[in-house]
Structure formats: C-alpha cells, structure tokens
C-alpha cells in the first residue's frame, strides 16, 4: 500500500490545498454538488472522502464523524498531505436568545469545552478562526443571491450532546451551569468540533473557518452552509493567487 493516511486512507494525489469538512458522511454528497467533477475517493469508518474542483483547484470533501477527537484526526491527516485551508460546515444548537433556529453562524472563535484542545495548547490559548478566510466568507455571503444573513460571533464546542441542562446547585459544582455563562458572553450556538478544528489548524499552519446552521429539530439540511463554503473557497482561491501567503499567521 502506498503512503496512505492512517484513518482517512488518503494519499497526496487525493487532495489539493483546500478542504470542506463535515460531521455526517451522508452530507458529503450535498457539499460535493457545489463542486465540479466530484467523485468519492474513499470511505473508512466515519471518514468519507470526495474530491471535486472549483476554479480549477481541487477541493476535498471529508466527513469526520461526531466530536473533536475525530475532527482533529481529519485536520491532522489532511494537513500531513498538504491541505492548508479547511472550512467546516455543520449544525449547532442555539443559545437563545443570542441565536435562533435557521440562523447561519460564522464562528470568530470557540469556547473550548472539549478535551482535544488541551492536548495541543495550554488552556489560555484561544480557539480562533483564520481572519482572512472569515473575511472572504463574509464577503461571499453578502454577494449571494438569494442572500443569507450571516451572524458572526463566538460558538461553544462541547463533548457531551446529552449533557444535563438543569441541576440543583447544591448538588454539583457551578461548572454544570454553563449555558447561563455562555449566554452572558454572547455565545451564539453550540456544536461539537469547531474549537478543536481551530486549535489543531493553528498548530499545523492550516487556515480554518466554521459555518453552522442553527437547528433545534435536527431536520434542516446542510445546503446553505455547503453553498457558502464552496463559493467562499472559490473567492479565497483567487485571493491566494494574488496575495503573499503571509496570511497563514492570521
């Protein structure tokens, strides 16, 4: 077997510089529908990989399953093959009233309620998106027709989907009463991977962004996020051709 990445089973020939990543393997087809000549490359465990093009550049679509550990693996393995730009598209639950179902959220930074980030950087280090990539996505959203209204702000990334929401404060520590804290910090919504994707990307010199569709029923689909990711990456690809790669640090 040639040099394939351990979990995602990809080689350098399967990727370019740009990737769109998502939780659910079933959503890869929807994302790939916004690219040209898309085809499935591999599917092992929760990692389904498709490859298409946009503006004549390869864009990989990769699912990573639920949670930060597998999302971190996806970023690491893509980075090891030369990917330097990753856009996550996914879902998030609202932290009302800061966000409402069907809002589309572009994360500026994430609250690190996962276990993975602490394996990479000290707790003081922020999970922050790549600014230039975010700027390009914001611009792409403004130019879309029909338009979408993007909310920009902080998201939370948690590990426990079914974590309890209400506890008698006398029984447990204040750590569990977190929705209230994040609400005060104007956190918009809660997902399960953005923080780890941002931190691992920083450590691997990958530019990362995260677009979430806010949902409370789980019945909406990924289409608006996928469309924005593809259009935004199309513009970002053109930007990369003109600007020096110094924006890796941003």
């Amino acid at each position: 077997m040639e040099n394939r990445t351990h979990f995602t089973r990809l080689t350098r020939e399967d990727v370019g510089r740009y990737a769109i990543i998502t939780e659910n393997p079933a959503d890869c087809e929807i994302i790939a529908s916004f690219l040209e000549d898309a085809k499935t490359i591999s599917y092992h465990r929760e990692f389904k990989a498709m490859l298409g093009t946009k503006n004549r550049e390869r864009i990989t679509v990769l699912s990573y399953g639920i949670g930060s550990p597998s999302a971190a693996i996806a970023v690491e393995e893509l980075a090891s093959l030369g990917v330097d730009t990753v856009v996550r598209v996914g879902f998030a639950t609202p932290i009302e009233p800061n966000a409402q179902p069907n809002d589309i959220v572009l994360a500026t930074a994430a609250v690190k309620m996962d276990g993975t980030c602490a394996d990479y950087v000290p707790m003081e280090f922020p999970a922050v998106a790549n600014y230039v990539l975010n700027r390009t996505l914001e611009q792409a959203a403004a130019g879309q027709n029909p338009g979408i209204t993007l909310k920009l702000g902080i998201v939370e990334s948690k590990d426990a989907f079914y974590r309890p929401k209400e506890f008698d404060r006398t029984l447990i520590t204040n750590e569990f009463i977190l929705d209230r804290a994040w609400r005060k910090g104007k956190v918009l919504c809660s997902d399960m991977e953005t923080a780890a994707i941002f931190v691992v990307s920083r450590c691997r010199w990958v530019r990362a962004a995260s677009i979430s569709r806010v949902t409370s029923t789980g019945e909406e689909d990924i289409t608006p996020c996928a469309r924005l990711a593809a259009e935004g990456l199309g513009q970002f690809i053109e930007l990369d051709k003109t600007e020096p790669s110094g924006c890796l640090l941003t």
Binding site: A109, V111, M113, Y131, K186, V199
Partner: protein, 269 residues
C-alpha cells in the same frame, strides 16, 4: 460606580464627556499624539492613570483615554466608558514580537488573545476565547494596508497575541519560582502560532464580550526575534530607535483611519 458628583469613579467622566468611539493607549504619554489627529481636541480629565481627550473625526465625537498597564486598570476603563455610552474601543499599544516575520516597527492587529492574565478569569471561565470584534479587525486591516511601507520593510500583521500579566516573567522567567511553567506555556503559545506579546488585550476582549461592546487592538512592535530560542534584539541602534519611535505615529494614524471606516460603515447600516 459613580462619585457624588455623578462621575464614573475611577475615570472621572460623565455621559457627554466621551464619544462612542474611544482609543485606549496604555501610557498617558501617548494620549496627546492620538488626540492631535482629532479636530478640536480638548483635555477633559486626568485621574490616576486615566487621561482623557475628546475631539472629532469626520464630524463625529471620539475620545482617547489611557488605561495604564495591565488588565485590572484596562477593564475598569472599558467598564466605566461603556457605562457612559462608549461602545467601540481600539487599544493602541506597544508589543513584543514572538515571530521572526514580525519585525521592529511593524504593527500587529490582534485577532485573538492568549488569556495568560488574571482579570479575564473574573469575567468568564477559562475555556471562553478572548477574540477581537470582527468589524473592528476589518477596519484596522483596511486602514493598515494604506500605511504599509514595504520598501522600508514596515508591514502589518493580523494574528494571535499573548496577554501576560508579568512583564518580568516574560523577560526574566529564570528568576521566577514558576520558571518551568512559564517556559512550557510559552512554548505552547508559540507552537499555536502567537505572533506578539503585550499586557491588556485578553482582559479587554473578554470584558467587551460580556459588556456587549466592540473592541480591537493594534500594537507597534518594539523588538525583533531571531532563531528558535527567540533571542530578542531591542531598539538599540539609532536606526531601530527611529523605526520604533517613529512607528507610534504610524500606529496612531492607522487606528484613527480605522475609526473613520467604522464611522462610515456604522452610518451605512
């Protein structure tokens, strides 16, 4: 908290004394330089480290107020200014480079900040990110592009900065009981891609998130780093001293131009 005359307790200002947009240098000695870029600047108050000038930019009232060094005094500043109507803040400071590509005389615009401070812990849990307001970062970047002097090697960078509380913990860590922790954490921060160090951003950004106001920051860089052990060259030669002290003017102009853009964009919305 207010005095019996109705002035905010530490900054000694009341509603009407400041504009919506406020510049926050650390050093009172730098307020005049920023105020000189306003129309009709007036000195309003000077209590403790808080020196305030108010004037106009493009016909809109703006202010500059020094915060002193560190999160405690800086967050008092942003709290009391927010209480009297300010909602957009740009910290204009000095910082140290943590990356070879970030050189003496360059300016750094903070996208996020490392929370190695005490103050932000009294606002939000440690997992919460210190992140600048996106619109403020955009305005600073657009303004900075016009002030690059690539021929003379003066550039701007956008990235993550390290907010420490202890200046001498950064510069003489070997003297400290927590020497090992300082070195290890610093290595982690550089590994994650921190590009500069300073002393107020994380506290300001987290406080701003809780207050629901907009905050960004721009720093003039005062040193170079060489090599993986981050040897520091400070402004010692005549040329580098000129680059640094002349750089304050450039950083101030970028900050004021950023507020011009914010004013335009806010009025358009």
């Amino acid at each position: 908290m207010v005095t019996k005359e109705g002035l905010q307790f530490h900054i000694r200002l009341k509603e009407g004394d400041v504009g919506r947009y406020v510049f926050l240098p650390g050093d009172p000695g730098r307020c005049e330089g920023i105020a000189s870029l306003f129309d009709h600047p007036q000195k309003i108050a000077y209590n403790r480290e808080y020196l305030t000038y108010t004037g106009y930019v493009d016909g809109v009232k703006v202010s500059v107020m020094s915060t002193g060094i560190g999160g405690p005094s800086a967050t008092i500043a942003i709290e009391e200014l927010a209480a009297i109507g300010a909602d957009t803040f740009i910290r204009v400071g000095t910082g140290g480079s943590l990356h070879e590509r970030v050189q003496l005389g360059d300016v750094v615009i903070a996208n996020g900040a490392i929370r190695m401070d005490g103050t932000s812990k009294e606002y939000m849990q440690p997992q919460f990110p210190a992140v600048a307001d996106f619109q403020v970062v955009k305005a600073l970047e657009d303004a900075a592009k016009n002030h690059d002097d690539v021929e003379n090697g003066l550039r701007h960078h956008v990235g993550i900065v390290k907010n420490k509380d202890s200046y001498y913990g950064q510069h003489n860590p070997e003297r400290m009981g927590v020497e090992e922790e300082l070195f290890a954490k610093h290595e982690g921060f550089v590994y994650g891609g921190a590009i500069a160090g300073e002393m107020e951003s994380a506290a300001l950004f987290v406080a701003a998130s809780v207050l629901g106001v907009r905050c960004g920051a721009i720093f003039l860089i005062g040193n170079n780093v060489r090599g993986s052990d981050q040897q520091m060259d400070r402004a010692s030669s005549g040329e580098s001293t000129r680059r640094f002290y002349g750089g304050h003017g450039r950083a101030n102009k970028i900050a004021v131009d950023a507020v011009r853009l914010l004013i335009q964009r806010d009025q358009a919305n």
